[in-house]
C-alpha cells in the first residue's frame, strides 16, 4: 500500500530522491530550497538513505561535484534556487555538454536586484538554453512524480541529459499538501539503476569533455540538440508507463476545456490552479475560454501547442518572467510555432506575479477581458504587465 503524507514541495522532492536511491547529493542551501538538503541529511543520518551527502562551499562547487559524481556513473541529485542557480550557470552548461543525467529540484524564485526570495520563473528561464530538460510542477504531488520520472527520462540512452524540476517558491516549496508516496518496490521496478555509456574508472581511463576545435564543435552541439529532440518521445513513453504503474496522468502540455475555446490561456506552474478556477468561472458565464498548462518547457512542446492552439482566436500567455527589453520568454516561442502558418491565432503576452506577487482569479479574468477587447479589434499591447503601479515609478527627465 502506498503511503499518503502531508508534505511541503521540498520534502516531496527529497522523498523522490530517496525513492530513486540517489547515490550522491552535493548541495548548498538557499531559500526556498534549503529544506531539500535538510531532509536529505536527515535521511542519511537516520540510515534511511545510503548516499554520499556532500556539503559544498557554494552552488558552483555543488554543481561541479554533481558533474564529477555523475561522471563516475552514480545517480546524482541536488537542489537550488535563484542566485544559487545563477552561480551554477557556467557548470550547468558543462553538465549538459558532458551528457550527465543529473536531476535538480528548483524552488523557482526571483533574481536580484532588488533581493526577493519569492516565486518567479526568472531563475530557470535564464537557464533555458543550457541543454537541461525543464519540467514545471503545479502541485506537490507533481514535484515528487516529475522528479522520479526525470531520472528515468534523463538517464535513457536516447537522451542522456540533465533535467530540472521547477516548483514555485513558497507556493509549493513550503506549502503543505497531501502527497502519495509510492512503494519502494514499485519505484525500483519503474526506475532501475543508472547504466552510464561512459564512466570515470581508474582501471579504464578516459577523458571527459575533451577539447573541441571549430572543425567539430558544431557536431557536438548538434548531438545535444538531437538528444533534446529525442527526449520528446522518451518523455511521452515514461509518462505513459508512469500512469500505468502509479495511476497519475502527465502530459507535456495539459489541456483544460480547450475543445471549443476561442480564448486559450497558457500557464506554467502553480498559477495554473488559479487560472483553472478563472476558466470555470468564465465558462459558467458562457464564455468560450480554455487553458493549457506547459509541463515541459524543454524540450519545447511545439507539436502539442500547435495541436491545441491552432483553432483558437486568441492565445494568452501568462508569464512569471521578463526578458528585459522584449517581453516574456515563452511568448516568442509560442508565436514562432505559428510563424509560417497560413492561419494563426492572435497571441498576447501578460507579465504577471513577478517576485511572488499573488495571482488571483480576478487577475486572470482581467487578462481575459483585455484579450477579448483585442479580439474586437481594440488596440492592445503585444506585452501587457498586470497590476503594475506605473505612477509610483521614479522617472528622471
Amino acid at each position: 500500500m502506498a503511503m499518503k503524507m502531508v508534505l511541503r514541495g521540498n520534502m516531496a522532492t527529497a522523498y523522490a530522491a530517496k525513492l530513486a536511491r540517489v547515490e550522491v547529493i552535493p548541495a548548498y542551501p538557499i531559500t526556498p530550497s534549503t529544506l531539500f538538503p535538510e531532509k536529505i541529511s536527515e535521511f542519511v543520518a537516520n540510515g534511511e538513505l545510503k548516499c554520499q551527502f556532500i556539503k559544498c562551499e557554494s552552488e558552483h562547487s555543488a554543481m561541479s561535484a554533481c558533474i564529477g559524481a555523475s561522471a563516475t556513473g552514480a545517480r546524482v541529485a541536488t537542489a537550488t534556487s535563484s542566485q544559487g542557480l545563477a552561480l551554477m550557470h557556467e557548470v550547468v552548461f558543462i553538465a549538459a555538454g558532458l551528457r550527465l543525467p543529473i536531476v535538480m529540484a528548483i524552488g523557482n524564485r526571483a533574481l536580484s536586484a532588488p533581493i526577493n526570495i519569492w516565486c518567479d520563473h526568472q531563475d530557470t528561464i535564464a537557464e533555458r538554453d543550457s541543454g537541461w530538460l525543464q519540467f514545471y510542477a503545479e502541485k506537490n504531488q507533481e514535484t515528487l512524480d516529475l522528479m522520479l520520472m526525470a531520472f528515468k527520462i534523463c538517464e535513457d540512452h536516447r537522451v542522456l541529459l540533465p533535467g530540472m524540476v521547477g516548483m514555485d517558491a513558497f507556493v509549493l516549496t513550503h506549502t503543505m499538501e497531501c502527497v502519495d508516496i509510492p512503494e519502494q518496490e514499485e519505484v525500483d521496478r519503474f526506475l532501475p539503476p543508472y547504466k552510464p555509456v561512459y564512466k570515470l574508472d581508474v582501471n579504464n581511463p578516459m577523458t571527459f569533455g575533451a577539447f573541441s576545435s571549430p572543425d567539430n564543435y558544431m557536431e557536438f552541439r548538434y548531438a545535444v540538440h538531437m538528444a533534446m529532440e529525442s527526449a520528446v518521445k522518451v518523455i511521452d513513453e515514461v509518462f505513459e508507463e508512469f500512469e500505468k504503474k502509479f495511476g497519475r496522468n502527465y502530459q507535456r502540455v495539459v489541456p483544460f476545456m480547450v475543445e471549443d475555446a476561442e480564448v486559450i490561456l497558457v500557464t506554467i506552474g502553480s498559477m495554473t490552479g488559479t487560472a483553472r478556477e478563472a476558466v470555470r468561472l468564465l465558462r459558467s458565464k458562457g464564455k468560450k475560454v480554455g487553458l493549457l498548462k506547459i509541463t515541459t518547457l524543454r524540450p519545447f512542446p511545439k507539436d502539442l501547442l500547435k495541436k491545441y492552439l491552432k483553432d483558437a482566436k486568441v492565445v494568452v500567455v501568462l508569464e512569471r518572467n521578463i526578458s528585459l527589453g522584449f517581453g516574456g520568454a515563452v511568448y516568442p516561442e509560442i508565436a514562432a510555432v505559428f510563424a509560417n502558418a497560413a492561419r494563426r491565432p492572435k497571441i498576447y503576452d501578460f507579465i504577471i506575479g513577478l517576485g511572488g506577487r499573488d495571482i488571483v482569479v480576478e487577475d486572470i479574468v482581467k487578462v481575459y477581458e483585455i484579450a477579448m477587447d483585442a479580439l474586437k479589434a481594440k488596440k492592445a499591447e503585444m506585452v501587457e504587465w498586470i497590476g503594475v503601479r506605473k505612477d509610483e515609478i521614479e522617472v528622471i527627465k
Partner: protein, 88 residues
C-alpha cells in the same frame, strides 16, 4: 572523427598523437659542458618532456612536445640552459 557522447575520449594517452611542440617560440638548449646532471629541469618541466637515460648522455628535451615555457632555463642552478629564438 567520431562525435562521442559528451565529447568523451575513450582511450588513455591519445594526446601523444597531437604533437604540440609547434606552439614553441623559444627553444631551450642545454650546454652539457655546464650541466652537472642535477635533474632539477626534469622535475620542474610542466610537460614532462625532459628525460635522462645515462649521466653521459645528460638531460634530453623532447622538442615534439616542449612548448618553450623556459621554466627549466630559469630554474637551472648552473645557467646551463639557454632560451634561443625558434626559427622556422
Amino acid at each position: 572523427m567520431k562525435i562521442t557522447i559528451g565529447a568523451t575520449v575513450t582511450e588513455a594517452g591519445s594526446s601523444v598523437r597531437n604533437k604540440t611542440g609547434g606552439w614553441r617560440n623559444m627553444r631551450p638548449v642545454t650546454d652539457l659542458a655546464k650541466c652537472k646532471r642535477c635533474g632539477i629541469c626534469i622535475i620542474v618541466c610542466p610537460d614532462a618532456v625532459i628525460s635522462m637515460k645515462t649521466r653521459e648522455e645528460g638531460p634530453k628535451t623532447d622538442y615534439d612536445y616542449c612548448k618553450g615555457c623556459g621554466i627549466c632555463a630559469n630554474e637551472c642552478p648552473f645557467k646551463a640552459i639557454e632560451m634561443q629564438q625558434e626559427e622556422r
